[in-house]
């Protein structure tokens, strides 16, 4: 069968040499959709597209998928060339900058025109996608942070319940840390660590987003404690250096007491950690029930030739029928109420642990943080994180680091 494939591609190659594929497929009613590193659902998408084409004869759909770090580069190059995909799956706060700069279409009118559709979704997640009173995305799938904890290590250290406050996080960590073992780890990209700050009442910016607000004595104290705990080995260094594999791998190896991560981490650590089952792994809200979301949503490029069609496709893909299918296969929540009900129900008996994890995603959705609609989020992140890292890893003392961060962020805010 490989031979046949090779032959076909050989022919395709000859053609492609002269005429790029996506130009050949040019037609008045063509939709292009760019998804974010989810090629594993190709089969599902194909079905959805087929149904859509059947409903809208003569429509062609071009499906592209790029992996996370590459998607922005790709989309922006396409923007410059004036050929951005009509529909784009965006994660985290990336959308705000593009919305603010007018790359994305304001979906508010479409949503107002279709209240029934809006009712399908969790309002808190919906409202996460409003910038200057305009909504730009429709939820595709969602994930927010929670606290995983290793019950075996808790027992060893004589701890019964998960931590209820920042102090307990530190105290418990110190209790569980010995030799190779550490007490706490967190994911740190996309503000995922921010609940640690928020539960201490620390704000990044003033409410009007005009000035930094984090450089307070309390913040200095918190960062200082985190740094000390890291130096002492109570908190795993990887919390501040690793990205995805390293922290999850560390926790999965069973030598870390608690992990603050978003729910997507569950299936990763489940696959890695042989020790993990419903009696050994706990999943609960972080103290103060604060969490940082990293949601995926569909936006429409302003340059889209026929936005109605694009919106129709989004409706199809996020509507009850397909959202339910998707949630079922991918074991994720979609902010589509019906789909999530079905998903939880399905998971409940065959994987109670997963059920517990996913359950946290629907609780306290009103206490989300680290998801500010900032047009220059990327620049602020880039100005803040390295400085915080300096402090947490003991390269600078908390005071100077935060002061430097404040200066850097003030500069960013002044510039825009």
């Amino acid at each position: 069968m490989d031979r046949r494939r090779a032959l076909k591609t050989g022919v395709a190659a000859a053609a492609a040499l002269f005429r790029p594929a996506f130009l050949r497929a040019q037609s008045s009613k063509k939709l292009s959709i760019l998804t974010w590193n989810i090629a594993d659902q190709e089969a599902l998408f194909r079905q959805e597209f087929a149904e859509f084409k059947a409903a809208n004869p003569g429509v062609e759909i071009e499906w592209l998928d790029k992996k996370g770090p590459d998607l922005p580069a790709f989309y922006q190059t396409q923007l410059v060339a004036g050929t951005p995909p009509d529909i784009v799956d965006l994660q985290g706060a990336l959308w705000v900058e593009w919305a603010a700069n007018g790359a994305l279409l304001d979906l508010t009118p479409y949503l107002q025109a279709d209240p029934a559709f809006v009712k399908l979704f969790n309002t808190d997640y919906m409202s996460g996608w409003v910038y200057e009173k305009k909504s730009y995305l429709v939820p595709f799938y969602i994930s927010k942070t929670l606290l995983f904890y290793n019950k075996l290590m808790f027992k060893e250290a004589g701890l019964s319940a998960p931590p209820a406050s920042f102090d307990e996080i530190i105290k418990f960590s110190e209790g569980m840390a010995r030799a190779e073992k550490t007490g706490f780890i967190t994911l740190n990209f996309d503000w995922l660590y921010w609940p640690l700050m928020k539960m201490n009442g620390i704000e990044l910016l003033t409410p009007d987003f005009k000035k930094p607000a984090f450089n307070t004595p309390e913040a200095v104290a918190v960062v200082d404690r985190l740094a000390k705990a890291t130096a002492s080995g109570a908190i795993n260094k990887v919390a501040w250096t690793g990205r995805w594999v390293e922290p999850n791998g560390a926790f999965a190896s069973g030598t870390v007491g608690m992990m603050h991560a978003h729910s997507s981490a569950y299936f990763f650590i489940k696959g890695q950690g042989r020790w993990i089952n419903r009696d050994t792994l706990g999943a609960t809200q972080a103290p103060g029930n604060w969490s940082t979301p990293t949601n995926h949503g569909f936006a429409i490029s302003k340059s889209a030739k026929n936005p109605e069609l694009a919106f129709a496709l989004i409706k199809l893909m996020t509507g009850n029928k397909w959202a339910t299918k998707f949630a079922g296969i991918r074991r994720v929540l979609t902010a589509n109420l019906a789909a999530d009900q079905a998903c939880l129900a399905a998971v409940q008996e065959e994987d109670p642990l997963a059920h517990a994890v996913l359950q946290t995603q629907l609780e306290h959705t009103d206490r989300m943080t680290g998801n500010w609609p900032l047009a220059n989020d990327a620049q602020i992140k880039d100005a803040f994180w390295p400085e915080l890292q300096n402090a947490l890893l003991g390269r600078k003392d908390a005071k100077t680091a935060l002061a430097d961060a404040e200066r850097a962020i003030t500069r960013v805010l002044r510039r825009s």
């Binding site: 069968m1 490989d2 031979r3 594993d40 299936f267 696959g271 296969i329 074991r331």
Partner: protein, 132 residues
């Protein structure tokens, strides 16, 4: 220069830049032939109970690997001699489990194949255990 064109051509063919790829091509072709003749997706095996007697009418499930998790692909019931036969396994990385209401359930055994839909007969029967 003086050599006849034919022998010259031969010499050209005898250099390693021709031979190595040639050998590789032959190997690949051979392998593909083997694959094409052995990928009917047939998986066969037997189901026995705790003491090793064949179990008829047990449900055998075929789980197929899909990027991150195993999803159920098909299920068949065993014949009188406890044998079962899947004819539509599309994957290269599968798991098989059996269960019967009164006889209990077997553990899910993982089966790795050398290529998708490789025909395979399970060496060990699936053993049903009570109360697991």
């Amino acid at each position: 220069m003086s050599a006849s064109p034919r022998s010259a051509a031969l010499r050209l063919l005898r250099n390693r830049f021709v031979l190595v790829p040639l050998v590789l091509l032959v190997l690949i072709a051979g392998w593909n032939v083997f694959v094409l003749t052995h990928n009917h997706g047939i998986v066969t095996g037997r189901v026995v109970d705790a003491v090793g007697r064949p179990v008829a009418g047990a449900t055998v499930r075929l789980w197929v690997f899909n990027f991150t998790t195993f999803v159920e692909q098909a299920s068949v019931t065993t014949a009188a001699d406890g044998s079962f036969r899947f004819t539509d396994n599309p994957s290269h990385n599968i798991q098989i489990s059996a269960e019967k209401p009164d006889a209990g359930r077997s553990e899910r055994i993982a089966v790795r194949l050398y290529f998708a839909a490789q025909d395979r007969a399970l060496p060990q029967p699936l053993r049903l255990e009570k109360g697991s």
